[in-house]
Point group: D2
Chain length 303, copies 4
């Protein structure tokens, strides 16, 4: 298998792809991103790196950050966290509040917005947001082995100004006694965490710990690696998770900035980015690129 | 790894397990099954068989049959089937009608009842139910390499008498132009398909084609094998699918008769059975046994 | 007040009305009705009759029949009926199945389809449908003082052929042990009851018993008259009941055939008919006409 | 009819009533109210007053205030208000957020919490909350003809501390562009408006403008009086409105403080108060007392 050639070909194909999705418009700062961009980076267990396109351009990782905060929260609290958030796909949109009402304030999983707020709230736990954000950044930088990873203050501020729905979720969680910090602090921390910027190369690097196996950095226990991958598989693409599992067959986590982190257990960490989103809110070309990559390489957890 | 010893130990542990769940009570004939039973059978890619407990006792496979009918329907119709049924976890109970109303009669996936009715309806397609049931049985027998697999007429009749909710789903599908046979025929076929009886040994045998790889029987294409496994992973345990993925890490399909079929891609086909169900409607001991097996063997698609 | 002139003027205005709604298309036989028709009949407590337009043309009363079957069922069973059906507005469409699932098979009120099926089922109660339909017809004829009221067999058959959603509701009720006759019998009776045909003159006549007061025919007790009116006020126009109360201020019951029966307690019984429906499924011109009538006469229960 | 004797008898009956409901516990300050209290005041169109029990004890009017703010908002904005809030019963609890998501941020009616927040937001309209609260108080005082009506600051503060669910609703409205003031200001104003305290005598006095007719104070037009009554009838008791209409037959508005204002159009204004609530969140004895009163007097809008 000539992985270099495969990655290169995908770069060509995506550059020519006619349907590129629509850039998220509800965060003004993200709306300004050039939709023609596409980047892909693959890191294999043996330490090789393959990339194409705009793999070294920084983008807003948004919800991909939820993987890192979940790993961090589990490291801090262990399985206690699961008393506050579930582990099931939601069957609803990423920002839906419906199940929060019918299920008594326990979010379905840590990757929908309500669940991610609970995770961030658990890490925050009374500490100053600045300190918690420092801890999150340290975790991501350690995972990537790269200190040049930062929060984009303009994006964070843009989310502060428009994140009313997330605030509604936070107040609703509080009304159900499932928030321990003031909503404004938890939301503020969450908005900044989502505004972390990385390149595809950095993100693929940061995802290696989820490959598991002897060559991967060991930031969390092997059992937890498997469980994080399981959650990414069943819940990582919101209400498009079934489709991603069906078409790609790899655990992955998408963000509204157009980034996707996907894992080939024991073999590779993949980061892809293209700002245009499909109707489920996942990167149009990013999804397509990983599907091509999985087919060309035969990578799938399902055989 | 001494798989024989592991399987034996699980048999001992399950025999002593204090919490055995509750036998399904809404199908009178199933209610009469002795809840103390437990069986486990594992078939590996190299042709070995390991089993313990009541692995040679017949049980009603119920919804596990949906894997076989889905494979059959896809073989017949190909991807056309996906215009009539989705590929996303539902976030609701297996027999819920809620999303059928809000999503215009397209069931979320082929493993909830509404979706399985669509699949059976697609195979039926105007043929006499008896003929279609013959075809389904032939497929299952071919997969198992065993002609001694039958439908239990008492169970089928019991379901005929109590399957009002499934009939409601069928009429609702028809009202949305997503049923092509008369509801009574589709439901009748479905009730009989669910009443197929197999032993754990037969079911593990029948599941080998889902292992993929060079040693597995090739009933469907490798790509379709992966996709069936993906659907089993995200939707195979209804609103407990995320939990099964999290705890076990293998694609699986459960039935209300207490059976579960789980697949280790490229390596093994596993059938487990114990009639008592947990609160999600999946076998209490069956789930526990597969979790133990996965942990002891290290089998997981997630690393 | 010159009621004759008011009614005449409304006839002129409605003849010239530009927006006439859309004829229901899901019952083929109803779809063939000429949408340009409009009729209005008003009967006052002192025995006077005023009418205009097509007040003597027969139309399918459809859900208006639910008022008569409810009165009949309450006369037969008394308040026992309320163990099987509620008395609250639903907040959903007339044919929705959502609340039936979340509220354990107890329909919200007797005027949505699920609730009306329960009412018909309660009257049927093991008797032959033909006999029960005879009883319903006798009640309506007695109320109207007119034996020339019949069921249109073509409309009934048309509903038989397309009433899949009502069958879904009936099977769902049965699954919740809230149906005592076979679904096919209850639905068949219901389809025929909806196919009763009356003219506006007959319907206004038949509604007089709901006026209450010394001059009204006493088919049910005064307390029950008030309660039937209360239900018509809060639930009589499905998810448009609040709007009808707001704009018109009278208890009323609409049908998908374009008819509306409205009551001015102690003063008048009003029947209006025009086949075109608004987006809530209630007669467009019928609603408008009653609104005009209420404004011109000052009739309102609210002052 | 000896109204004085009827009111007196109801006072005796309620004092002896065994089931008195449960005092609301989610607003700490309200939880401290003595549940044994009961008051009733009736003011007739001819200027007579009848009362019994604790009719001169102040209580927190809570959601009864929504009638006054709605009248005020309509006076200010006219029918423009209806672009922001609907007029249909919700079929859900008073504080539900479900329909706000599925219906794009337009609350079902002005009497559920979400709708009342929109109404208060419309009055606030950029003014300082203190000024708006002054205006609301002036309206209520003018209606009651009594300047001795105040906001209880302890109750307002108690609601500030626990009103997380209302804040969630406000942020959700803002996310749907249906809030024009900062959520904290709209909520703060709303919490204070709910903390207005009145006696039954004051509240019955303040409700006279809703009687309509020549003897009632004319604060709003006759047509608007009818429409306010219509809304109270269909939506005034949340998801118990149908039941109140069925049992009592009068337009009414309840509050979680245990107060109910009910109107007999053209004839009387009724205020009742008892702190214990039924399972729908409406005063247990208050509802019962008005039901007794309506039966004894024959007062009903339905004949």
């Amino acid at each position: 298998m000539d992985l270099a050639a495969i990655v290169q070909q995908i770069g060509y194909d995506m550059a020519a792809a006619p349907h590129r999705g629509v850039v998220a418009d509800y965060i003004p700062e993200l709306k300004r991103v050039d939709p023609s961009q596409f980047g892909l980076a693959v890191m294999t267990a043996d330490g090789q790196t393959y990339h194409c396109g705009d793999a070294d351009v920084r983008f807003s990782i948004q919800s991909v950050s939820k993987v890192f905060t979940l790993a961090l929260a589990l490291g801090r609290m262990g399985d206690q966290l699961w008393t506050r958030v579930g582990r099931e796909p939601s069957g609803h949109a990423f920002n839906s509040i419906l199940q929060l009402e019918t299920e008594h304030g326990i979010p379905r999983n840590p990757f929908i917005n309500a669940g991610a707020l609970v995770v961030t709230d658990a890490i925050l736990a009374g500490h100053p947001p600045r300190e918690t954000l420092g801890e999150i950044l340290r975790f991501v930088r350690a995972a990537a082995g790269d200190d040049n990873i930062h929060i984009n203050p303009d994006v964070a501020q843009s989310e502060e100004q428009t994140g009313h729905r997330n605030r509604a979720l936070a107040h609703f969680l509080l009304a159900n006694a499932n928030l321990i910090n003031p909503p404004e602090l938890t939301c503020g921390t969450y908005f900044h965490q989502c505004a972390i910027e990385m390149t595809c190369l950095q993100l693929a690097q940061a995802g290696r710990f989820l490959m598991g196996g002897p060559n991967a950095p060991r930031l969390v226990s092997p059992e937890r690696v498997r469980r994080l991958n399981a959650l990414m598989m069943t819940c990582g693409h919101y209400d498009g998770s079934g489709e991603f599992a069906f078409r790609v067959g790899l655990p992955g986590k998408s963000g509204v900035g157009g980034g996707i982190l996907a894992i080939v257990p024991g073999r590779a960490s993949i980061a892809v980015w293209s700002p245009g989103l499909n109707e489920r809110g996942n990167s149009q070309l990013g999804t397509l690129a990983i599907e091509h990559l999985a087919r060309a390489t035969g990578w799938s957890v399902f055989g």
